[in-house]
């Protein structure tokens, strides 16, 4: 069982690492971009995608926690939210 203290610590960790990690990568990308614009842009893109992926990965984190807790109702809700996010991004990619 995962108590709510543990759960909050894990979720906060995912958010913090995602935020600081992507911030660091985007900074590094801007720095690289001063010398080589193409390489810089690729690094900035990775940083921004990591930033966008952070909230999505916290949905996955909570889904796993709810599953471990056998909290069926909230596991189903988390799964549905994840499905909406994934489907809409696939639509976005396909429409381009």
């Amino acid at each position: 069982m995962i108590d709510s203290n543990q759960r909050d610590r894990i979720v906060a960790g995912v958010l913090r690492w995602g935020a600081y990690g992507s911030f660091g990568i985007v900074c590094a990308g801007l720095l690289v971009g001063v010398f080589n614009q193409n390489a810089g842009n690729s690094v900035v893109r990775i940083g921004l995608l990591l930033l966008i992926a952070t909230p999505v990965s916290r949905i996955v984190t909570l889904l796993v926690i709810f599953l471990l807790d056998r909290d069926k109702k909230y596991a189903l809700i988390s799964f549905t939210v994840l499905l909406i996010v994934v489907l809409s991004s696939l639509y976005g990619m396909a429409s381009h």
Partner: protein, 258 residues
């Protein structure tokens, strides 16, 4: 980067997201086309939401179950609005933006009046761990659908819509409502940001520097917040919002946003 820094700093001191400022500033003063400005703003909204909510979650003021439930509709709203926005006249989006700028300014004025008329202790009466009962899920889900759509259309967080809904209608304590709204903004903005990204509207040369600015601005703002008078910052933001809505209106009247 400077825009992001100021928006992030002001936003974190006054306790609002910077999205409402970023989109119009990019459109008005940097002549960025509306969809590109919205996409860049969405990404910076994710940055502030993620950084701020990691702190709120750790302090156990975020209701993750309530957040996940309401995200059922904020994400649908965000996805549909982001997809539909490609087919809506930019002038219509600009009008909605002006309305929302004025509404946000109004809700900040109301908050300032409310804060000064009540003692501080009254607002922070709730402590983490105290029980509360959430009610009115259908109304909350409906309002979240609107908040999500507005977010995906304008590149903002939508806090001024969700916080009153959770606090006044659903019965969550104000601190919980604020933290939970912030927590939801990341997922909501990520949903529409992915649609804009897929469409090719996320420009790295705009969003990259902006995110760095917003992030460092909000870090410094959070440090400074206890030491400066947030009241002045709030009034500065209110004035800025009114100014931006007038400028947006002027641009609209002179044939902009075609």
């Amino acid at each position: 980067m400077v825009v992001g820094f100021l928006a992030g700093g002001l936003g974190s001191i006054a306790g609002v997201g910077g999205g409402i400022i970023i989109t119009p500033v990019l459109v008005l003063f940097f002549h960025v086309p509306l969809p590109l400005a919205v996409a860049a703003s969405l990404v910076s909204v994710i940055a502030t939401s993620t950084a701020a909510s990691s702190v709120h979650v750790e302090r156990h003021v975020t209701d993750v179950r309530l957040a996940m439930t309401l995200e059922l509709t904020t994400t649908i709203g965000a996805a549909v609005a982001a997809i539909v926005s490609a087919h809506i006249n930019h002038r219509v989006i600009a009008v909605i933006f002006i309305c929302f700028l004025l509404y946000s300014a109004y809700s900040m004025v109301r908050k300032q009046l409310h804060d000064s008329s009540r003692p501080r202790a009254d607002q922070s009466s709730w402590e983490p761990g105290e029980p509360y009962k959430i009610r009115n899920y259908p109304a909350g889900l409906g309002i979240s659908l609107i908040a999500g759509s507005v977010s995906g259309l304008l590149g903002i967080g939508g806090g001024p819509i969700k916080v009153p809904a959770m606090y006044l209608i659903m019965g969550a304590p104000l601190r919980v409502a604020t933290a939970t709204s912030n927590f939801m903004i990341g997922v909501t903005a990520a949903t529409s940001a992915l649609v804009y990204y897929g469409r090719g509207d996320l420009r790295l040369d705009i969003a990259g520097p902006l995110v760095v600015g917003v992030f460092s601005g909000s870090l410094i703002g959070a440090r400074l917040a206890p030491r400066i008078r947030t009241r002045e910052v709030a009034f500065l933001l209110i004035a800025l919002m009114v100014y931006l809505s007038v400028q947006m209106g002027y641009k609209l009247a002179t044939g902009g946003f075609q």
